[in-house]
Amino acid sequence: MKARLACICLMATGALVAFEKIALVDGFDYAPVMDTETDKGMRQVLARVCETGADTILWRTHSGGIPRYASEAEDLAVLEQPLDKRRVPLTLPVRGWVRYQRCEPDALKTVYGLCAGMSGVKRYGAHLLQEDAHSNRYWSLGEWTLEHPQYWCRSADGKIGMHHASFAYPEVIAHRRAIVREILARGAQMIYLDTTRNGGYGPRDDYVKPNLDEWARCHPGVPVPKDFHDPRWLEVVARGHYAYYRAIREEIRASGRDVPFVITVGNMRVQDGPDWNYAGCGFDWRKVVDEGFVDGLAVVSIAADEKDPFGSTERIFRHVAGYVKGRCKTYFPIRAYNFAKSQPSYGQLAKWAGVTPPEAIRRLLEIAARCGAAGIVMECVDPGNYPAADCEVIRNFAAPAHEAPTTHPATDVL
């Protein structure tokens, strides 16, 4: 009887929604083995991704700043290397030679069209990167950024950094907003902003004039801190980031469609003060939740404890869920890649715990569901990872349906 009442109450306050299984897909990584510039190749990529049991497919839209579709926001004529001699060509076989921006019909529209026709896919959208240069390399610098040195980053001692255009400039945000507009126009059903892929950017690079002016306005007579970890400096830098997130939200609203906006946080740990995301990426995830900028918060890496991998994972998940308190959805990671000790893969967690990888996945799925997550994020589904036995666990996992947040929190801040 109690359970029935609880169910009725849930239905009265918000819709019950299924546990989501999100796959991040970097089509570029399939380029050496599939012809990803063609409809056939994209279909092969998606078939592989669906083996994991993913029901939400987020296709990476850019390599750093280079669009993987016929973007109107970039000068496509000079994206092919080496036509702009300021860009350092990528020399890898195949990947250094793909030209998604030249695909006809438009590559992103094609992918979304294919997703729409796949029975297991409930939602598809954009894995949008915060970075201008992927993986700290100049081959992927976008044309707009190269063309606008006046918006480039500055170090504390005034050195120019061409790897990123600062969000402190409204023109940069307007450009980014135009990108979101054209992605939405191609049919994206979710905008997933990956702030952890930031191309080496951080608040240490953001000593640009608008931020220096803002500092002088807020802290008259106080020298600008050379240590970018200074919370007062981080707060100034973060304003540009929040303006960017608001702009994305406004653009989604202008589309007239119900497209969730999800933002990532990385290297998560139980910590109350400013964390890695603040000093490393330029924003405070708590503020993002408090202000209602987003519909979802995706934790993409966790600083699990080697001695207690799953117990510490659950404590971290509960820490996030406890702060969010249902104000937006939360997503937790099933990550295949082991980039650092502080960002362990599920395989690493399995090793630490002495269990098999499928068992590690099962435990992570259960923890996520127990902590009230809306779903999991697979980071990233590539040709050679997520083997069949691991996929089977993900595919067969059925969490109880949970309640969706009842309001669109971000609409309140516009």
Binding site: A31, P32, M34, D35, T36, E37, T38, G41, L76, A77, E80, Q81, P82, L83, K85, R86, V88, P89, L90, T91, L92, P93, V94, R95, G96, W97, V98, R99, A133, N136, R137, Y138, W139, E147, H148, P149, Q150, W152, S155, D157, G158, K159, I160, G161, M162, H163, G200, D205
Partner: protein, 315 residues
């Protein structure tokens, strides 16, 4: 030669922005005064022939770049590059030949994975085209040495393939290579030691002694101008600092000035700068990029938003 460079180096060290990491920079000064800007025609990467009457340029045609020679007297244009494919970065040779980069990448990257085609250098003379470099590489931003027999160019395949295959991080690197017109293979001239670095746009000084180029030495740094003795490339003198961005250098015919594309704090965007060859004085003369000196050294051509302009300069 080494002795000559030793003298030059002492001079440069005393006057240039050198390799200092912070603070130092060429001072602004009246290295030249510039006249009014004159629009010439649609195009980019323009340069004048020795006769001063023919203009070499690249231009977008139906979404693809092509190379043309324009007769400034009649306005008549001759297309140098083939109808198919793309061509860019044209340069005059002393004998009226034209050097350019060309590719005809019709296949997808996957379909062309075993091909040996790429962006390679071609030479055009009197309607005849000849391929100078080969392979799946990008050979570009080339120029002739003053002897007219050696071509220097940027190339993303300057390492031997085996070494590159063993180095998974060597995924993004450009060096400078050279090839002789009268035969012989491609040889590496300049390469920075790490990945994600570049040496580009090599320009040999009119006296043949120095190699000027743009370099990108490290992530978080901008393009800088660097000069070295041509027989001792690793002895670098930086002509610009980390507080500005600079690329696309061009010598004046007498070797006393260098024009380049630059950006400094306060600029509204990229601009054409002229500096004395010792780096002591620098002046921004226009909004635009890709400058080249006219053969008489009295004017500079550059482009902005797909239009070629000319501006007189007096010293």
């Amino acid at each position: 030669m080494k002795r000559a460079w030793a003298v030059a180096r002492i001079f440069l060290a005393a006057t240039c922005a050198s390799s200092a990491e912070a603070g130092t920079r060429a001072v602004s000064g009246e290295v030249v005064s510039a006249g009014a800007e004159v629009a010439i025609c649609l195009g980019e990467e323009a340069s004048l022939a020795d006769d001063g009457r023919r203009l070499l340029l690249q231009r977008l045609e139906r979404g693809r770049f092509a190379v043309f020679v324009r007769d400034l007297g009649t306005g008549r244009e001759t297309r140098i590059s083939p109808e198919e494919g793309q061509a860019c970065f044209p340069e005059w040779g002393a004998d009226g030949s034209v050097l350019y980069t060309f590719a005809n990448e019709a296949k997808t990257g996957f379909a062309a994975r075993d091909d040996q085609t790429g962006w390679n250098l071609w030479l055009w003379k009197d309607g005849v085209r000849r391929q100078l470099t080969q392979g799946r590489q990008r050979a570009y931003a080339a120029s002739f040495a003053p002897n007219g027999r050696t071509v220097y160019f940027a190339c993303d395949r300057v390492k031997v393939p085996a070494a590159e295959a063993a180095d998974s991080q060597a995924i993004s690197r450009v060096g400078i290579a050279a090839v002789a017109l009268d035969g012989g293979g491609q040889r590496t001239v300049c390469l920075l030691p790490e990945s994600n670095t570049a040496c580009c746009e090599p320009r040999v000084s009119p006296d043949g002694k120095l190699l000027l180029r743009a370099e990108l030495a490290k992530f978080r740094e901008p393009w800088r101008l660097v000069v070295s003795p041509i027989d001792d490339i690793d002895r670098r003198t930086y002509l610009t600092t980390l507080h500005e961005a600079a690329y696309a250098p061009a010598w004046s015919p007498d070797g006393k000035l260098i024009a380049y594309t630059g950006f400094r704090d306060g600029d509204s965007g990229w601009g054409v700068y002229v500096m004395s060859a010792d780096g002591r004085a620098t002046r921004r003369i226009a909004a635009g990029r890709n400058p080249s000196f006219a053969p008489d050294g009295r004017s500079i051509l550059y482009d902005r938003d797909g239009m070629v302009y000319r501006r007189e300069v007096t010293r």
